[in-house]
Symmetry: C2
Subunit: 203 residues, 2 copies
């Protein structure tokens, strides 16, 4: 929400226009440059607004990314919270957080995400950034794991697959299982991808 009257340097726009221009610019810029390659300055320039508007409306680049891909969480808030505590129980915390976030949205937003990746190449690129840079790679790098990129993509298979089976395909008994059931079933597998021994994996 806007409060106060932030200064503007770019083309003058009303508040909602600014927000909407940033979202449109973000979808194009993240898709072309990737998450890391898209700078706040370039995002703002593309939208024709002052760079300060990114912080003002979205709390930073991560918030803008989350809004652009319609994520129901902000990685800048969630990831530091996940990383607190025992790394050997990170898989459990991630599954729990995943369920809390997407169950809250009734699963509908996950269905929308899958629908968008099936129909828009831009959404595919952004989901790739989400898995490879904005969320999982940040976690595997923060852990100091070996082969962080491989681990991040493996985490992606498990988490995206969980979302598909629970929210899109709605396959029982997983679709309506209690969180404790899903966590106990899946967290150990995710944990292997995060911190397990992958020395048998060639390459």
């Amino acid at each position: 929400m806007s409060n106060g009257t932030p200064k503007r340097r770019g083309r003058r726009r009303g508040g909602e226009d600014t927000r909407s221009a940033l979202l449109t610019a973000a979808r194009a810029e993240f898709a072309e440059q990737g998450y890391d390659g898209a700078t706040v300055r370039a995002l703002a320039a593309r939208a024709g607004v002052d760079p300060a508007m990114v912080n003002h409306w979205f709390g930073g680049k991560e918030g803008l990314f989350a809004a652009a891909i319609a994520l129901p969480f902000d990685p800048a808030v969630v990831i530091p919270a996940l990383l607190e505590g025992d790394p050997e129980r990170l898989g459990e915390r991630m599954v729990r957080r995943f369920l809390a976030v997407w169950d809250d949205a009734g699963g509908g937003e996950f269905v929308a995400l899958v629908r968008s990746i099936a129909t828009h190449e831009t959404a595919v690129t952004m989901l790739k950034e989400l898995i490879s840079t904005a969320v999982f790679a940040r976690v595997t790098e923060a852990l100091g794991s070996d082969r962080p990129a491989l681990r991040a993509s493996l985490c992606g298979t498990q988490i995206v697959g969980l979302g598909l089976v629970r929210y899109v395909v709605r396959l029982e008994p997983l679709a309506s299982a209690e969180h404790d059931v899903v966590v106990a079933a899946i967290a150990p597998n995710l944990q292997r991808y995060l911190t397990g021994d992958l020395s048998d994996v060639p390459g």
Copy 2:
């Protein structure tokens, strides 16, 4: 392919008409009745053709199902082959077979599958049948595992997630990893879902 002139009892149709009528009927019947509930007799009646045509054109109900959902394999052939050999290496055989089947199709057919589940409720129902009945549940039941339905849905999360990351999102390093790399990374996790100890999972 048709050879000889099979007898017909239902409405008379040319060969390609029969095949196409069966595919259309199958998509509706499997979606309404589920895989187990859809009988060859009902499928044929819905298509207005003789039940023998199901065997003639598709080698049986499983082949018709595979063709209706555009699967690049026939569960009736693949599953018995998978089940041969050490149950403790079934995860490895499944990942290897999955890669062989879908990589061969250049991943394009997996993308088509995801696109269809994102846009057609019928495809969702059929994917659900695929995971819950036609493939994974048959495997977990053949193994005599405890909690076969839970295990089947867990296998679904891992295998569908692998397909999404490798073929749809095309996330590296997994998207272009050699089969041996993918197998070594993912098979142990799939194996836990197939035969591992799930006694810590409530319910």
